[in-house]
């Protein structure tokens, strides 16, 4: 059986990578291995999920199913209990489709899957799995098999603190950072990424899995905060010494990453096919759209009144909506969601609009949202509004936001109670763009070729075909034929196989909770979040 490597680059974009493979004066070629990889392989833009966000996009990549089927839309899951709204984290039990780890594993392919989100609590697979986005204190018992942690301690300098997420630090990803702190932010990711490389190298060398997949997520984290120092189009003609220093620090991350990629590919079997992809691309964002403030101005939303306590202030500053749930009919739950939930009353007297008014209300709301103007440009602040049943068809459609907003600059919304509804950031930050990257090289891969954009759901089918496995008939994605040579496809025809195995995990149920008590649980979740202004 042949071997397949999948190297995930969270948030990678050709806009930046193409600059890093060029020989720039005073900079040189930052990623020489990637340059050679592209020259001897195939590359194409990869279109992310309708809302290009880490949890839904990576889940689509590893299931081959769109969010409407797999059911992951955000970091936080919203549970509307009418008189209160409860927020909790999505986890693996919420994914409603089989993953490629399972599909490959049950067909006798050994798998090592490292650092992918929404993978805890971990499923049993034929191989090894270490979930991403997991606090270090909980990493050991969320690995599979259980003996894996002890094996990793043999890595010199291994400590789960460096491998896992530091939630306090990662919560800073969306804040406007001071330049002095930005250097610490970038340095924090250097040893962390090195340790993921060491883990991948160890498992690749010792286990020789047919599929090794590892996600390097520092790309996304650094680009969010340091885009201003990385984007070739934003570089000042005469940068300050601090600007030069920060840019060089960021470039050192990419130099290191290039070395990790090169060593992993060198360690793979000679017949291995290597694939690289990102969950979304990146670009700059300078506009702040305070969507809940706008909904409040329209009369659809009422913020919770603060009682002056420290607990209330912490809750108000948290990255999920703090609202008067008796008076709110439409709201954005989290800044990472870019979603709007329309509340429908489950019975007369309950908060929300009457069920018979839903379509009319939604239509009016869409019109109001399109009329939100960015005063800096005079243009609409929202370029597109995705409707749930159109953007997210499938078994999990009902869990999607009623509306998903695509902002004019692809930025994330703010849910803060700050006026005016549209403003400007002091300097551009990085935000997600729908088009990420796909690259491949190895036996059967077209050399030096470029392809047209294709959907992220196709990656799962492409990896399964590389593993010489049939493609389950119910995948949303297809094999990316363009990346393979015609003669190789002739010798290795795409086989259609039976559907994926059903996932029958218990769905969470709810029990009535006294209103006075719920706020305290929300306080507990306040440290978890993503982007804010």
């Amino acid at each position: 059986m042949s071997q397949t490597l999948f190297l995930g680059l969270d948030g990678a974009t050709f806009h930046l990578l193409d600059d890093l493979i060029c020989d720039r004066p005073g900079q040189g070629i930052v990623m020489p291995f990637l340059k050679r990889f592209m020259e001897r392989g195939f590359r194409a833009p990869l279109r992310s999920t309708p809302h290009p966000l880490t949890p839904p996009a990576w889940t689509t990549l590893v299931t081959g199913r769109n969010p409407g089927e797999h059911g992951i839309y955000d970091f936080m899951r919203v549970d509307d209990r009418q008189d209160q709204v409860f927020f909790t984290l999505y986890d693996f039990r919420d994914i409603r489709c089989e993953t490629i780890w399972s599909i490959a594993g049950r067909q006798n392919r050994r798998v090592s899957a490292l650092n992918f989100p929404i993978m805890a609590p971990p499923p049993n697979i034929n191989g090894s799995l270490i979930p991403g986005f997991t606090p270090w204190r909980h990493l050991r018992r969320n690995m599979t098999p259980a003996s894996l942690y002890e094996r990793l301690t043999a890595i010199p300098g291994f400590h789960p603190k460096e491998l896992a997420w530091d939630f306090e630090r990662e919560n800073e990803v969306g804040n406007d950072m001071e330049e002095e702190y930005l250097a610490d932010w970038v340095r924090y990711h250097l040893p962390r990424e090195k340790l993921w490389f060491e883990v991948a190298r160890k498992l690749l060398a010792e286990d020789r899995p047919e599929l090794l997949a590892v996600l390097f997520d520092g790309v996304d984290k650094i680009q969010h905060q340091a885009w201003y120092y990385l984007d070739p189009e934003l570089q000042p003609a005469d940068p300050s010494p601090l600007h030069r220093q920060l840019r060089e620090l960021c470039l050192s991350y990419f130099r290191n990453l290039d070395g990790y990629l090169e060593q992993l590919v060198a360690l793979a079997r000679p017949d291995a096919r290597v694939f690289m992809a990102s969950d979304h691309g990146f670009r700059d964002s300078a506009t702040i759209v305070r969507i809940n403030r706008y909904l409040a101005d329209l009369g659809h939303l009422v913020y919770q009144e603060l009682d002056g306590t420290a607990a209330a202030q912490r809750r108000e500053a948290s990255p999920f909506a703090y609202l008067n749930w008796h008076k709110t009919v439409a709201y954005c739950p989290t800044p990472s969601s870019n979603g709007i939930i329309i509340r429908v009353a489950q019975s007369p007297g309950q908060p929300g609009i009457a069920p018979c008014d839903y379509l009319g209300f939604r239509e009016r709301l869409i019109g109001q949202l399109y009329r939100l103007i960015d005063p800096a440009t005079g243009q609409p602040a929202i370029r597109d509004i995705l409707i749930r049943e159109e953007a997210f068809p499938g078994q999990a459609s009902a869990s999607a936001p009623d509306l998903t907003l695509v902002l004019a600059d692809h930025g994330f919304v703010s849910i803060r109670n700050v006026a005016p509804p549209v403003g400007q950031r002091p300097r551009p930050v990085g935000t997600h763009h729908p088009d990420g990257v796909f690259m491949a090289a190895g036996p059967g891969i077209r050399a030096g070729a470029r392809g047209e954009v294709f959907p992220i759901a196709d990656v799962a089918a492409t990896l399964l075909h590389s593993l010489e496995l049939p493609i389950p008939g119910d995948l949303d994605g297809r094999v990316a034929r363009a990346c393979f040579r015609d003669d190789w496809l002739g010798d290795h025809p795409i086989r259609r196989g039976p559907a994926t195995l059903p996932v029958n995990r218990d769905r969470p149920t709810t029990e009535a909770m006294p209103e006075s008590e719920k706020q305290k649980i929300l306080d507990q979740l306040a440290m978890l979040g993503y982007l804010e202004e």
């Binding site: 909790t88 029990e511 006294p514 006075s516 008590e517 719920k518 305290k520 649980i521 507990q524």
Partner: protein, 93 residues
């Protein structure tokens, strides 16, 4: 289904021992009913979320009304004893 309290206690202790084995904390005793999550085991907010998931997995239930464990008289409890977790599970499993 009703599970005897000693069996629940054993399972909760097992979950907590597994969870805390790598943690930097001064507490060196064994985990028993009187152990306090925050004071003794240095639990933080995210650890409580992880504990809820671990208990749901250990007892194969995702519908536990955890608010009844984490809140009392409308206020978030500053401390949770192991015995409180066991009492909660005994009442709701």
């Amino acid at each position: 289904m009703s599970i005897e309290r000693p069996l629940i206690l054993d399972k909760v202790i097992q979950v907590l021992e597994t969870m805390t084995q790598d943690w930097d904390m001064d507490y060196a005793g064994t985990i028993n009913e009187d152990v306090k999550l925050v004071e003794d085991l240095t639990f933080a907010s995210i650890d409580i979320i992880q504990l809820v998931v671990a208990l749901e997995e250990a007892f194969q239930r995702r519908d536990l009304p955890v608010d009844k464990l984490l809140l009392k008289d409308g206020r978030y409890v500053d401390e949770i004893k192991v015995s409180s977790i066991v009492d909660f599970l005994k009442a709701h499993l």
